[in-house]
């Protein structure tokens, strides 16, 4: 804000610039999709900003009201396409809550395992593209290499590379075997080494720190009031993680893991660097959870017996409503489903974490420089498929 006061548009001053309206996006390499931000610029300083979303509005909620509960599972994949497993998980838990069934124990452990793997993949994209946003190209290639290994692991059990449709109401689609789990632990060993390299490449990079520290400061109050969740909220110093505080799967209750919280390492709490660093540390925590899952996974069925018939006859939950929240890589994903006893819900509302995280952008940008806008957008790590649904 100081900079803003320094260059106030005083018409009598020596250096006077007309206000410039600048469109960032929808086709812009660093808006992470089809976000459009309209910026009012005074020279290099942003004086006002308006987010314009809806360029990827794909009518998911209307579709949810017209297809059956099972058939909506692949559509949840396509909301947050970087974390399909977590979306499937949230939707399955919602349907299970409506139906009053619970997935078998083994299915719960498999769910936690694949959800954490997908969390790593999602954070890797955030890490790689954030590097590109700020002018570091190399991390992108490193991140995509590790992501490719995760894709291949998940492809082996689910059959698809990105949009898995693996976690379904009542359990998971396929069982996993020991050979696959060995591959996962081999990946974990490898990944921990790579993670150190990432830090050398980007985290400790002086230029990177200069471009992210003390930029885009999101205070705790602003984050809470705007409904920010996930790493964005944790970076502002709120120690809240649904996995620990409201464990929605059994493994999260039993596994040991830490909740990384922003510490203001390079100055201010809740700046871009904190958000980035929370994500980086979450990857390592996910590796910890994965290792414990592999160790403790119990034998048993991977799908609730009574649910197998859902493939032939549509699920018919009793009238009622359910709201389930899950900790996604981007924050708390919630599905609010209202059933009136039919084959499909009458309302299928999604609480998309990116939607709420993005709504804070208009409050972060004014007063910063244009180059920092890119850093701020990247640090929020939005997925437009989820913002617009």
């Amino acid at each position: 804000m100081e900079a803003l006061e320094m260059f106030t548009s005083d018409r009598n001053a020596d250096v006077y610039t007309e206000e410039l309206k600048l469109n960032l996006g929808p086709q812009h390499p660093s808006t992470h999709g089809v976000l459009r931000v309209e910026l009012a610029m005074d020279g290099e300083i942003i004086t006002d900003s308006w987010c314009d979303i809806g360029y990827l509005h794909r009518c998911a909620e209307k579709i949810g009201e017209n297809v059956t509960y099972l058939q909506f599972t692949p559509y949840t994949d396509r909301m947050d396409y970087l974390a399909s497993m977590n979306n499937n998980l949230a939707w399955s838990l919602t349907v299970e809550k409506l139906l009053d069934v619970e997935a078998p124990e083994r299915a719960q452990w498999i769910r936690a395992l694949v959800a954490e793997l997908n969390r790593i993949a999602s954070h890797l994209i955030a890490f790689g593209t954030y590097g590109i946003d700020l002018g570091a190209n190399t991390p992108f290639f490193y991140a995509f290499r590790e992501r490719e290994s995760i894709m291949q692991l998940l492809e082996k059990i689910s059959g698809a590379r990105m949009l898995y449709n693996f976690i379904r109401p009542g359990g998971v689609a396929n069982d996993i075997d020991d050979a696959w789990m060995d591959e996962v632990s081999a990946f974990c060993d490898d990944f921990e080494k790579r993670w150190v390299e990432y830090n050398t490449l980007l985290t400790d990079n002086f230029v990177f720190i200069q471009r992210t520290a003390n930029i885009g400061i999101l205070t705790k109050e602003l984050a809470l009031s705007n409904g920010c969740t996930g790493p964005v909220l944790r970076a502002s110093g709120v120690k809240w993680d649904l996995r620990r505080d409201v464990p929605y799967l059994e493994p999260y209750d039993e596994c040991e893991f830490d909740i990384p919280v922003g510490e203001g390492t390079h100055g201010t709490l809740g700046d871009c660097w904190d958000r980035y660093w929370v994500r980086m540390r979450e990857m390592i925590e996910s590796v910890r959870i994965i290792r414990q899952c592999i160790e403790k996974i119990p034998p048993g069925a991977h799908m609730e017996k009574s649910m197998v018939k859902m493939y032939k006859t549509p699920l018919k939950p009793p009238p009622g409503e359910a709201y389930v929240r899950c900790e996604n890589p981007r924050g708390e994903l919630g599905f609010y489903v209202v059933s009136e006893g039919g084959n499909s819900p009458i309302r299928c509302r999604t609480r998309a974490p990116s939607f709420c995280n993005l709504s804070v952008l208009d409050k972060l940008l004014p007063g910063t420089m244009l180059g920092d806008a890119v850093a701020t957008i990247g640090s929020l790590d939005i997925v437009l498929g989820e913002v617009d649904r």
Binding site: P29, G33, V34, R58, C59, I63, R145, G385
Partner: protein, 176 residues
């Protein structure tokens, strides 16, 4: 290609010149940095080291339409975005090529029935050269599409006269 476009008869010289031009064009396709939805992530995977589109001379994604030859439309185009996609296409210089990546772009995909807001295939908006269905297509499938596009570019007639090409060129100039 202005005045010379499709005006000369086919003979040894024009064939040879066309061959050289086609080889040049197909070996340096510059795609546009343009991501819409899920398929964009697989497109990024194609640019990354594992698949490395640069082996085909197409690994330099340009951030502006004015410098690019190829627009890969990766992801659902909806009513709000369609106008922008068309504008981006209009800003590209000839010769320009379009790859429709993913089921949504090829023909509506999963959103074809209940999607009140989605365009059922980007070929309703801009002329498409190669369709790559799949949801999302594997990176290999996209590269297969790009290889097919390379073949198509290599066969293009720049100097030789060919009736259909001239007609389609005129059509795309006329209304876009």
């Amino acid at each position: 290609m202005g005045i010379l476009n499709n005006t000369l008869p086919s003979n040894t010289v024009t064939d040879a010149v066309d061959g050289v031009i086609g080889w040049g064009r197909k070996s340096s396709i510059w795609p546009m940095t343009f991501g819409i939805a899920c398929c964009a992530i697989e497109m990024m995977a194609v640019y990354a080291a594992t698949f490395d589109l640069d082996r085909f001379g197409a690994g330099v994604p340009r951030a502006t339409p004015r410098q690019s030859d190829l627009i890969i439309v990766p992801g659902t185009v909806n009513a709000k975005m369609a106008v922008r996609v068309k504008r981006l296409y209009d800003q590209m210089a000839e010769p320009r090529y379009v790859i429709a990546m993913g089921a949504c772009v090829c023909g509506g995909g999963p959103y074809v029935k209940w999607g009140y807001n989605t365009v059922k295939g980007v070929h309703k908006i801009i002329p498409v050269d190669i369709f790559v269905p799949g949801c999302p297509p594997r990176p290999e499938a996209l590269m297969d599409g790009i290889l097919k596009l390379r073949d198509k570019i290599g066969m293009n007639d720049v100097f030789r006269r060919q009736k259909e090409t001239a007609e389609s060129m005129n059509r795309s100039y006329g209304h876009l």
